[in-house]
Amino acid sequence: MSLESLQTAIRDAAASGAQLRLRGGGTKDFYGNAPRGSIIDTRAYAGIVSYEPTELVVTARCGTALSELESALEGEGQCLPFEPPHFGAQATLGGCVAAGLSGPRRASAGALRDFLLGVKIVDGRGRVMSFGGQVMKNVAGYDVARMIAGTLGTLGLIAEASLKVLPRAPAELSLRLEMPLERAIEAMNRWAGRPLPITATAWHEGELTLRLSGADVALRSARQALGGTALDAAQAQARWRAVREHTHPFFAGNEPLWRIAVPSAAGPLALEGKTLVEWSGGLRWLRSSAEAGAVRDAARAVGGHATLFRASDKSAGAFMPLPPVLARLHRELKNVFDPAGILNPGRLYPEL
């Protein structure tokens, strides 16, 4: 498939007002509000455009399988530092950027948007535009590229993305400690304020798992400082993959799954349900049938926000409503990129 054919499809839809559903492998169909419109499958527009390990930058087309991209990086001893969840073998780079989700390493390495250096998009009028670039530092023009992360295809089809990559850590070690949530939150934040090589944290049912990454010498001294029992390497790898990909038993079942982001040091939330905590306390997964309003109020009360991540009923809206001035700015921006309102309508917010 060519970029021109994607442009033509969007231009035609804009002319007729037909709604489009931009879709890669469909592994994140569940995310956000219900998708609607006729499908544009981006998987045919695929391939790594350029990858130079010493420049620490990879550029690939949207349809490139995330697994293919990650193995290319692995071959050179590098990685996507934000550890994006795939949620299925079919996951594509375009979907990954559009969803903007980051995995276990987010609290230490940064989010997807932090590594997004540039994008080529097709906007709602079918125009191809490039923002950002393939260099680490670039402040020419507004940082539209970073803003595209997490827009769920509502501002444009992400045709190509350039990401900063980093070397893989030479060694990893995971430790298990027993402690109640309140103490775990305090401990994770305290540790994060010290120069320790902690690159992932997960607390569930009284058990806190830490992942350390770095040089052997650093891991040895950190292990002494932290205590706990070491997991064997295969067990540790499986454990972090299960957290990242939601194959951990906590994520099984049909009870609504909430993704609650809070300031990391906020105490345990007084909400019914089971919880799994990541990102040094900044991310609280919650399985709960509690009223959406109650979950969002609890998040808001500590300066956070709650996303209804997986649920059969999303009538409460997947994302927390925006305050009026921000909501207006969102509508204005949508109108700049997609004046006909045809790209993934409603996926992020009903009015976008």
Binding site: R113, K137, V144, A218, L322
Partner: protein, 475 residues
């Protein structure tokens, strides 16, 4: 203004407004009609609301250390100085954040966080003077951003107003705020989208230990390749800087940093972490640099010596200011592998325009700072320097880079925006601006050129042999 600001906070006599006529880019000067120095958020809101109602332009300003003319005042409007917003509102060591007002100096944040073993990572050379508000406007970097990121990676939340005086909060202390990432859009927007009155920054644990290697090279291209070799070895140094011989000579006279004056270029390569980690990494870096052809190497043996090695790099701009009446600092970023080519090109431009140009280079992230030396009192030298700069910036675009890595476009590089971006991309930027500021009152005429201006500059990017907007007049 006097209705809601105290008398001392409204300046309009020429002797009072003169200090605000320019920022760090002194080649462009303009007297503001009025300078307003509000002290409270409510006063900022009133200034903005009043200006919006009367259609008066507003230019926000921090410490005025910017190098691209981003804070050049409007001749017919208000210069909004945020200098009085200088309180650190909160440092939370457990949550590792600081909430500060925009007029707080960059270095003051790290000073306030130091008792807790924390610091604010971005460290532009001007950090003892520049303010966090200005850093947000420009998305400032520094010498450690390859490992620790730019302003956009280290700011969590902004509070401020739109031009109409509507309060906005962008981003959050919690990760991944819902909706579009307006934080990314606002940071680096050169004061054109919102006026910021409060900034929440992320604090990082101070590394236990740091050490820097200074390596000499007889050839610039070899030094450039050595940088790539370090990265290829899987090492991300905390800092990786290069200076050419003219730059080390200028600096050495000024601060005596102990640089090798015989080398064609020196590299400063820093490692940080636990003492064991640093020793391990320094050993690996040493091996890589040796293999890559370093002619001499020395390691910092104490914290004082480490700081002395850096002092030269951080003082590069003022040091150059001493050897030349004026200098013009450029800020292009290029893919590192094109370094040799671009430095050769700069050498050719020195001959073509008859001006000298020492180079300092954030080698780790490909950000060049060539410093064109000139004397504004000599006829034609400023003009030659500007043309020299324009050619270098356009070379940066040609090799796949950008015209500005961290200083911003401002007024200085506005013409080169016409070369870097296509007309539809510039139109989109202008539309984004209108979404926030429909009347175009906030820092007008900066950062994004109008298409008419590009037509006038005559360097509109030609797409597939067809000039966009042929209906526009060309001069």
């Amino acid at each position: 203004m006097r209705a809601f600001l105290p008398a001392r906070a409204v300046l309009y006599e020429e002797e009072d407004t003169r200090p605000y006529e320019c920022d760090g880019l002194t080649a462009y000067r303009r007297l503001p009609m009025v300078v307003a120095l509000p002290e409270t958020e409510e006063q900022v809101r009133q200034v903005l609301q009043t200006c919006a109602a009367m259609g008066v332009p507003v230019v926000p300003r921090g410490a005025g250390t910017g190098l691209s003319g981003g804070a050049l005042p409007p001749g017919d409007g208000i210069l909004l100085s945020m200098a009085k917003f200088m309180r650190i509102l909160r440092v939370d060591p457990l949550a590792r954040i600081a909430v500060v007002q925009p007029g707080v100096r960059n270095a003051a944040i790290s000073e306030a966080a130091a008792p807790f073993g924390l610091y604010y990572a971005p460290d532009p050379s001007s950090q003892i003077a520049c303010t966090i508000g200005g850093n947000v406007a420009e998305n400032s970097g520094g010498v450690h951003c390859l490992k620790y990121g730019l302003t956009v990676h280290n700011v969590l939340r902004l509070r401020g107003f739109t031009i109409n005086g509507e309060p906005v909060e962008i981003g959050a202390e919690a990760p991944d705020a819902p909706g579009y990432d307006l934080l990314a859009l606002a940071i680096g927007s050169e004061g054109m989208l919102v006026v910021v009155t409060e900034v929440t920054v992320k604090l990082l644990p101070q590394p236990q230990f740091a050490k820097v290697i200074m390596a000499s090279f007889d050839d610039l291209e070899v030094a450039g390749r050595a940088v790539a070799e370090v990265i290829a070895a899987g090492i991300i140094p905390a800092g990786l800087e290069m200076m050419d011989r003219p730059a080390t000579h200028a600096v050495e006279q000024f601060v005596g940093a102990g640089y090798d004056l015989d080398a064609a270029a020196i590299l400063l390569c820093e490692s940080d972490g636990t003492p064991e980690e640093v020793e391990d990494e320094i050993k690996r870096i040493r091996e890589v640099l040796q293999r890559a052809g370093a002619s001499r190497m020395s390691e910092s043996r104490s914290e004082a010596e480490r700081l002395r090695f850096w002092s030269g790099r951080k003082a590069a701009f003022p040091a150059v200011g001493r050897i030349s009446p004026d200098y013009y600092c450029m800020d292009g970023t290029i893919p590192r592998k094109r370094l040799g080519e671009v430095l050769n090109f700069i050498g050719q431009m020195e001959k073509k325009y008859g001006l000298r140009c020492p180079n300092v280079f954030h080698a780790g992230d490909g950000n060049l700072h060539p410093l064109i030396l000139f004397d504004a009192n000599k006829p034609d030298e400023l003009h030659r320097a500007e043309q020299f700069a324009a050619e270098v910036l356009e070379k940066c675009i040609e090799v796949g880079g950008t015209i500005t890595g961290e200083h911003g476009v401002g007024i200085e590089k506005i013409n080169q925006m016409c070369v870097q971006f296509r007309p539809e991309e510039l139109e989109l930027f202008l539309a984004v601006k209108r979404a926030f500021d429909p009347a175009g009152l906030l820092n007008p005429g900066k950062a994004v050129p109008t298409l008419a201006r590009c037509a006038e500059y005559g360097r509109m990017r030609v797409q597939r042999g067809k000039l966009a907007h042929p209906e526009l007049p060309r001069f």
